[in-house]
Structures are given as structure tokens and as C-alpha cells.
């Protein structure tokens, strides 16, 4: 276990800038989690439109707003990743 950790440490140390790793990790998290939440928002919206097609326009509006909120949090990590890389 310790050997592996040492190897990984040296790999990161010699072949990769830790800043790059931090930015890549941040943007990965910031893509994965909002992707799940936006998928869930879309799925629920489609479900409720199928159940009640008259309310489609209202549901779509709220869906876009909720998706924008979820995506805005992902955008924060994007900005942070850019800031880390530009340091």
C-alpha cells in the first residue's frame, strides 16, 4: 500500500503539476454533480408534463430556472479551476 502511494506521489510530483491536478479535480466534480441534478430536474419535469400537459409552459419555465441554479454552482467550480490555472 505504502509503495503504491509513494509511486503515485512521485508520478504526480514529476509528471504533473499539482495545480493542474487541483483544477482538473475541481472541474470534474463541478461537471459530475450538476449533471446528475440537471438530469433529475429534466426527468421530473418531463414526468409532470406527461401527467399534466396543460401546465407544460409553467413547468418548462421552472425547469429552466432550476437547471440554471444547479448549473450555476457548477460554473463556480469552472471559474475556480480557471483561476487556479491562471495563477
Amino acid at each position: 500500500m505504502r509503495v503504491y502511494l509513494t509511486i503515485i506521489y512521485f508520478l504526480i510530483h514529476y509528471y504533473m503539476n499539482l495545480n493542474t491536478f487541483a483544477a482538473a479535480f475541481a472541474i470534474a466534480m463541478g461537471v459530475i454533480i450538476p449533471a446528475f441534478s440537471i438530469g433529475r430536474i429534466g426527468a421530473k419535469a418531463v414526468e409532470s408534463i406527461a401527467r399534466q400537459p396543460e401546465a407544460a409552459s409553467k413547468i418548462q419555465l421552472n425547469m429552466i430556472l432550476a437547471a440554471a441554479f444547479a448549473e450555476g454552482l457548477g460554473i463556480f467550480t469552472f471559474v475556480i479551476a480557471i483561476l487556479i490555472l491562471n495563477k
Binding site: L61, I64, A68, I75, V79
Partner: protein
């Protein structure tokens, strides 16, 4: 130029400096694009103004149709009371929409020459827009509730006086509202900036990899995102304004009839 030479600049490039008195005003490429957007919008508005007729025809008809559609849409979102915010709402929408789309159309040349860049891909522009929006909806809140009434939502001294010790909870909830209020302009600015700036980077990388065919789907995606972001910014602005101007007692009255209407629609078997 290959993918290795790609440099991403958060700050826009300064094209030239304008001496204003003893102070040099740097003119950046995003500012020039913003002036272009302003020129286009003002030109369109003037053309629509001078071709105004009793029976609309041609371009003026298109403008009237679009603005009427937006007005109806506003009525759906914010209710009848939101109609008075129509001018600033449509200004935000059109400015952001034209900035985003012009940025994509010009962005192909832009990254090489560094001459034109979408104004909304500059944090200064989006921050300015968000600050204007913030000041506007705070002002509207103060206009609707009075200065102390509006500030009373955040420093809820009235609850402590009315309810005694239990009012302390309301007081702390009010303090939390300060944070949610202050986060609004920051989130508005960063969301718009991040989306458009990220889109520009994606387009540039796609252009550097395979020039003609590969970027096309991304460009289509960016056009849709530009529209959605303009929409989201202006609708969020409208929602915040409506939230700040809403009266608590009236809100219950507004909600009640819509519930009654939608009640019989739900099938008992389904619902």
C-alpha cells in the same frame, strides 16, 4: 497555431488607451464589441421607430410581434404587477442576447486577432449588469415597503418586539436573508460569465483540433446556450424584483385561486 500554443486569458486584451484628462482609459476588445452591440440595438430601435405605422408591416411588424410575445410571457411569470418592469427586463434580455450571439459569430476571428470578444465573456461586463440588476430590485423593494420596511426583512427587530423571545428565531432568519440577498448578484454575474467564457474556450479548442466540421455542433450548442442564458438572467432578475416587491398578505390571495383551478384537473386515479 496548434493546440500547444493555446493560452487562455481571463482578462480581455487592451486594444488602445483613451486619454481622459490626466487618466488613461484602457479600451478593451470586449468594450469595442459592446459598442457594436449598442450600435446595432440603437439602430434597430431607430429603424423600428421611424417605420412605425398604424397598420404594422414588414420589419416593424416583426418587432411588434416579438415585444408583444415577451410582454405576454412576462405576464405569465410575474403577474400583472410586473408589467412596469418591462423596459429594463427587455433591455437586459436583448443586450445579453446580442452580446452572446455576436461573440459567437465574431469569436472565430476573435481568438486569433484578439480584436473582438463577447462582452459577456468578460467578468467586468457581467458584474456591471448584475450590479445594475441588484440596485434595481433593491430600489423596487424599498419603493414597495418603504426603506425601513425593506431593511426590516433583514434586521427583523419588529419580530423581537412583537413576539418576545420567540422573535429571536425570526431575527436570525432575517440575518440569513442578508446572505441570500447578497449572493444573488454574485451568482448572476458568475453564471453568465462562466457559461459564455466556457463556451468560447470550447469553441477555440474545437477550432484548433479540426477546423471546419468539428466545431459546428458546438456552435449550435453555444447559440442555444446564449439564448438560454439571456433568458435565465432576465427571468431571474424579474423573479427577484417580484419577490422583493411582493406583499405577504397579497401572496396568499394570488396563490389560492390557481390552486382551485388546477384542483379538478388532476385525476384522482393519477394524482
Amino acid at each position: 497555431m496548434g493546440i500547444q500554443d493555446l493560452e487562455i486569458h481571463l482578462a480581455p486584451k487592451t486594444v488602445f488607451t483613451l486619454p481622459v484628462g490626466s487618466w488613461n482609459l484602457p479600451v478593451t476588445n470586449t468594450m469595442i464589441t459592446m459598442w457594436l452591440v449598442m450600435a446595432i440595438l440603437i439602430g434597430l430601435a431607430l429603424v423600428a421607430r421611424f417605420t412605425m405605422k398604424y397598420l404594422p408591416k414588414g420589419f416593424y411588424n416583426l418587432v411588434e410581434w416579438a415585444l408583444g410575445g415577451m410582454r405576454n410571457f412576462m405576464k405569465e411569470v410575474g403577474g400583472e404587477a410586473a408589467q412596469q418592469h418591462f423596459p429594463i427586463f427587455i433591455t437586459f434580455f436583448l443586450t445579453i442576447l446580442f452580446s452572446n450571439w455576436l461573440g459567437i459569430a465574431m469569436g472565430l476571428i476573435a481568438e486569433q486577432l484578439g480584436f473582438l470578444r463577447a462582452p459577456t465573456s468578460d467578468l467586468n461586463t457581467t458584474a456591471a449588469l448584475a450590479i445594475v440588476a441588484f440596485l434595481y430590485f433593491e430600489y423596487q423593494g424599498m419603493k414597495a415597503h418603504g426603506v425601513f420596511g425593506h431593511l426590516g426583512h433583514f434586521f427583523n427587530v419588529k419580530a423581537i418586539i412583537d413576539k418576545g423571545p420567540l422573535g429571536v428565531i425570526d431575527f436570525f432568519v432575517g440575518l440569513l436573508h442578508i446572505i441570500s440577498e447578497l449572493v444573488r448578484p454574485v451568482a448572476l454575474a458568475l453564471r453568465l460569465f462562466g457559461n459564455i467564457f466556457g463556451g468560447e474556450i470550447v469553441l477555440t479548442v474545437a477550432f484548433l483540433i479540426v477546423a471546419p466540421a468539428f466545431p459546428l455542433p458546438f456552435m449550435m450548442l453555444e447559440f442555444v446556450i446564449g439564448l438560454i442564458q439571456a433568458f435565465v438572467f432576465s427571468v431571474l432578475f424579474l423573479t427577484f424584483t417580484a419577490l422583493n416587491t411582493a406583499h405577504e398578505e397579497e401572496e396568499g390571495e394570488v396563490v389560492a385561486p390557481t390552486k382551485k383551478e388546477s384542483g379538478p384537473v388532476i385525476h384522482p386515479a393519477v394524482g
